[in-house]
Structure formats: C-alpha cells, structure tokens
Amino acid sequence: MSQKIFALLLLMLFSSASYSELVIRVTQGNDKPTKIAVAPIDQTGIQTGEDISRIVEADLQRSGLFETIERRDMLAFPGRAQDVYYRDWRLLGTEYLVAGQLRSVGGGRYQLEFSLLNVTAQKTELTHKVSGSISQMRDLAHLVSDKIYEEITGIRGAFSTRLAYVTAIRKDNKYTYRLNVADADGAREKLVLESGEPIMSPSWSGNGKELAYVSFETGRPAIFRQNLVTAERQQLTNFTGLNGAPSWSPDGTQMALVLSKDGNPEIYLLDLQSNKFSRLTRHFAIDTEPTWMPDGKSLLFTSDRGGTPQIYKLNIATKATERLTFTGNYNARPSLAPDGRTLAMVHRQTDTFHIASFDLKTGRMIELTETRLDESPTVAPNGAMLMYATKQGDRGVLAAVSLDAGVRYVLPSSIGDVREPAWSPFLR
C-alpha cells in the first residue's frame, strides 16, 4: 500500500509542477477594468494651470484597462505613500492608488514625486520623480501615466506620444486643409501646414522629429518632408503622375514611396542621402501604400495584381513578392504593430469597410471595428491601441480601438473633417 503511495508521489514529482494537494484550476477571468484612484496631486500651493491628476485619470481611463475612482468618493487626498491609510481605499474597492506631490526646485523648474500603491496587497509598488517647467505639466502628467501603465501591465505606456492628422474644413464649397500634430489625447493641437490644396498621407520619421506627407500645393501631388521644430521643408519628388504614400525606413535613411511616372503606380525607394531612386515593383497593376517591416529588409504593400486589392510582401533585395491576404475581397493600407507579427488593415468581407487585425504567422483575420467606412489604421508604438479614421454622421472623426477589440473610444474632434491619423513613435 505504501509502495503505491510513493509511486504516486513520484509520478506527481515528474509531472510539470509539483502539487502538494489537488490543484484548483482557474481558466476564466472577469476582465473588469482595474479600479484605480488618482488622488489630486498635492501641489503645495503652486498654480499649474493644468490638473495633473485629471490628465492621468483620463489617460488611464482611455486605455480601457482602468476605471478611476470618483474624486468626491475619496476620503483623503494623500500626497505621499506614508500618508496612506489602506483601509480607506479598500472600502472603495480600489485596487491601486496614485499619490503625488509637486514642489518647486528653483530655476523655474518643478519636481513631481509620485507613488503607485497596491491597495489590495498593501504595499508601495513604485516611487518616481519627474521634473519640468510650468508649461510642461501635461508632459509630466503623461509621464506619470506611462510609468503606472507600465508597472501594472508590463507594457510600455504610449501616453507621451503624438498624433499627426489632416483636417479638412469646408466653407462655401471651398476646402482648407490642415496638417496638425497633437498629443495622443488630442490636446495641444499645433498647426504644421495649412493649404488650399489637399494634404495627404502624413508619415513620421523614426526619431519623431519630422513628417513626410503629400501636398497638392504645386498643382500636382508631390512628397515633402518637414522638420517639426524648425518648420524647415524640403520637396522630395516632382514627377508627373502620382507621387504618394511616403513611408520612412526604420533606420531613417530611405523613403519608400509610390510613383506612376512609368505608366502605372509602382513602389520606389528614395535614398535620402544620395537622392537616388530605385524601382522595386514591375507590374501593370496598382502597387501602393508601402510600409516597412521592422528589420528594414521587406515592405508590405497593397496591390490589385490579383484582381482585387490585397496585401503583399516585397523582399527589397530580391524584389520577390508574396501575397499575404486571402480572406475578404478588399485588403489595403497595411500598418504593422511593433511585434512585427500583427498587421492592421482596411478589410472588406461583404460590403462594409472595417479595420481588421491580421496575424502574419497564423493568417487569422479578426474584424476590430463596428463602424463603417473605416480607413487609415495606425498602430500605437506600444502595440496596445490603434487609431483610424471613420465617419460619425457625415463628419470625419478619429476613433481608437485596442488590438484585441476590447476597448473603443472616439477622439474629441476639432472643427472640420478629421482624417489620416499617424501615430508617432516613442518620443522620449
């Protein structure tokens, strides 16, 4: 009898884990947003013009992963970890608490020291200091959000990133086009370019300092690059026919783009140092919308060489192409997630255009949106979210959806039709 017991024990030893008793298995969860309280920052009398904790609340709420506790329900506003009575927060059902204190450190600079506390486990998870000038309070707030998001999810926060987008304002049948850059939450919109002629396809450089785009200001579409800080511009192409879809290489030395000067839209590479063009595709079909793979060796692009628009992969060295999408009758505008494996694109199965995510490894296509007439998907640099353009009524708006389709929100829209969002890379 005891022989059997020991044999059983040995069996358990050699199984994947050693259990002391029968193990309970939990295979399902309840993905409710994590309750987090962001206590108002103790500003020690400093006037900031921005409510830092409100910005952090909004960031965390927008990610879809958090539910913030109402300020009016808070029993106290602790500024430091040592001032926290966990019991007060447990009563509210709070899981995490953010507390912070702002201090002047002289020279017009301010330091924000904040802590993230795990109320459930009753311990401090992290304490961090960030500093900046009085005009950088929003940036400090976004840094706080990044740190908290990263600590809890293990994923780098993208709250300190930016969005480039085009706005078209119609007045008496005349359009004014604007290329704008704003914070990822839509705040601090800045004008990059204004024109009476269309502006299209903004694309960020890898260092986040420049934008490439298509402008019709010369009477024909042409590709420009512009430094965001100095506003210095440079026209890169001036060919007949299409000049479009610019895309910066990961190392910043080349621009993939589309020219139809040789008879039909083809993909070319422009070496930004030497100004030399090299042709990559040779097919009578439409080849457009190139986007780079992270290793810089391949491009993904849209082509209708198979009869309808589909996504193809192009090996830059060999110029060999390979079709990737086989589901749906329209697949275009590929946008790669930083994992190099998930692709966002415009996808049509029956008669509505949705944004779908496509797994390059498994070939699985998942529709992410329920809005119609979706276009221009752009993935956040942390892969957690994607932004795209859609219509609300007859107005063009930007919407965001998480790559597992769990979270959705619409960006508060400025005047006019907003379209063509481009998510910046990490900027810090």
């Binding site: 299209m200 200001e217 275009a332 007439l373």
Partner: protein, 166 residues
C-alpha cells in the same frame, strides 16, 4: 516501520525544499529616478502655391464629366459618345486639356488616388486612340480628396466616381 518514516521524512524535506525554491522573488527597492522633459514644440510651415496656374475652361455642349462603376476604370457608352465629340474638337482646335480623376470615399486614400488616375488614363487612352495628341493631355488624380457630392450613400458615391475634363 522505522525505514518508512525515514522515507516520509525525506519526502517532506524534499517538498519543503521545492517550495522554498519556488517562492516569489523579494521586491528590490529602487532608488527613485528622475526624468527630465525635452522641449518638443511644433512650428508651422508655409506652402508655396506659385506653381499653380488657373486653367481657363471653355464652354462646350458635350458632357465634361464621365462616370464609372465602383473599383472600375471602364468607360461607359455615354462617356464614349461625349468623348468622341471632344476628340473631334480637340483635333480641330488643339488646346491643353486636363483630365482630373476621382474616386468615391470608400476604401483607402492612396489606393483611391491610383483608381482616380486609372480612370483619367482610360479617358486619355480613348482620346489618343481617336487621334488626339497625347502631349495635349495632362492626367491628374485627386483620389477621394475632392468630392463633388457629400453624403455616404450610393447617389453621392456615384457622382464622385468621375473624371472631369477641363
């Protein structure tokens, strides 16, 4: 009996050791680090519209707008009829012609640029086939950027899938 108790003791020891080894890592207290913010303000650029010319539009009796089916660049019979007239006029009175191709809002923007161009090319090819000199004809696409009709319905879309002869 003694040996079996040794065995129990050993296995207990074994399990204790196993569990001790599997306990979670102690939290390391980090020194609070400091981050400084860079200045990343954005300046506005200026467009250069000096190259745009105003194109004079002659009044003609024939249609100057030709329509197409979704995702297609095939000329319709009524378009051909109108274009025959235009080709005759252009051969008798040559002038520079601008063909502006368009697409409806559905689908992606750059692809629609290509589609608009394809349609304008189709019109150009027809005219050239009729004998019009290709050097007179400029093809330009606006994709979905310059809609003629607003609204997300078949009627509006139909009006936007066009080539305008100017």
């Amino acid at each position: 009996m003694k040996v079996s108790s040794i065995k129990s003791g050993l296995s207990a020891l074994f399990f204790a050791a196993l569990l001790a080894g599997c306990s979670s890592n102690p939290v390391v207290e980090e020194q609070p680090t400091s981050t400084d913010i860079e200045d990343t303000s954005v300046q506005t650029g200026q467009v250069d519209t000096s190259a745009i010319e105003d194109v004079a539009v002659e009044t003609v009796t024939a249609d100057t707008i030709f329509y197409f089916d979704f995702d297609k660049a095939l000329l319709k019979p009524e378009s051909r009829a109108a274009l025959l007239e235009h080709s005759a006029m252009l051969q008798s009175n040559p002038r520079n012609v601008r063909l502006e191709g368009h697409a409806d809002e559905r689908g992606t923007r750059e692809y629609n640029m290509a589609l608009g161009e394809r349609r304008a090319q189709a019109v150009k090819e027809f005219l050239v086939l009729q004998g019009v000199s290709p050097s007179l004809i400029e093809v330009i696409s606006y994709g979905e950027e310059r809609a003629a009709a607003y609204g997300s319905n078949d009627d509006a879309w139909g009006l936007n899938r066009r080539v305008e002869l100017k």
